[in-house]
Amino acid sequence: MSRNIRILTVDDSPSMRALLRHSLTEQGVEVEQAEDGEIALSWLASNEVDLVITDINMPNLDGFGLIEELRASARHAERPILVLSTESSAEKKQRARNAGATGWIVKPFDAEKLAVAVRRVIH
């Protein structure tokens, strides 16, 4: 992947943030990180990224809330958003899809599958 791809990862777990940073940086991606949906929203108000990868279970504003807020704004209406979650129920996936998510990745993530998904959703 080229150097100019910039991704925001949103996850309240420092361990998961470290795994994501390591894995995406190895792919040549520039990685920005937020600890929950609220922090992600305020950061995105004044920054641009090619893709948002978000967890679901987070304090303050969870992944569903973050997707809904982003889709409500014209600036983020088309931005690819991938969910990365331990959850895998059809009901949760449908909720994310209805909120406007681009796709769903089940934890624990696989670095190669993640890299392929990133390439597919960023045009």
């Binding site: 895998s88 089940v106 696989d110 599958k113």
Partner: protein, 189 residues
């Protein structure tokens, strides 16, 4: 990918022993529930929220022997996943991450030729808790003995007894191996 391992709460039911297998994570606020598991090189994390009176237990084996006798490979992704699964199970019942207290058990180095496996599992668990800011209030790790854990999730009470090595489960990370091909599956909408 196997679904999360939540179990229904049965308030007022008779005492119920639940065996927590390797690769499993469960949580409960039911005073009748008692979790039990036997650990060799595996590590179990017992988490407890003393305010909400909710407890949870996981059981994992991350390290496996690599090529040479003194090397091991630690599958950190699977470890972080099983810890997150445990924490999420507890949050879903009403626990708060900032209130969680952790106890760690297991991580025995039971065979000379596999000597680092238990210690590697223990090191991962300690490092994870430190990174996440979860207080480690007690640990009974490493050494050479297998352990039997009995944990009452609603009271947070843990009993750890040493047991014969033969009682401990085999050291292969069974569920981890099974899930490796399925892990990280991507579904684009």
């Amino acid at each position: 990918m196997t679904a999360p391992f939540s179990r229904p709460m049965e308030i007022g039911s008779p005492r119920r022993k639940v065996t927590v297998m390797q690769g499993d994570a469960c949580a409960s606020a039911d005073p009748a529930v008692e979790y039990t598991t036997i650990l060799g090189s595996c590590v179990a994390t017992a988490l407890y929220d003393p305010v909400a009176k909710i407890g949870g237990l996981n059981h994992f084996l991350l390290a496996e022997p690599a090529g040479s006798r003194n090397e091991t490979v630690v599958d950190e992704h699977f470890g972080v996943y099983l810890m997150e699964l445990l924490i999420n199970e507890m949050l879903a019942l009403g626990a708060k991450k900032s209130r969680l207290k952790a106890r760690l058990y297991g991580g025995a180095n039971m065979h000379v030729h596999l000597k680092r496996i238990g210690s590697d599992n223990a090191a991962f668990a300690r490092a994870f808790l430190a990174r996440e800011g979860i207080a480690l209030v007690h640990e009974d790790l490493e050494g050479q003995n297998a352990r039997r854990i009995n944990f009452k999730p609603a009271s947070g009470q843990v009993r750890c007894t040493t047991t014969v090595a033969a009682a401990a489960p085999p050291v292969a990370p069974v569920i981890q191996a099974k899930s490796r091909e399925e892990r990280g599956d991507v579904e684009l909408f």
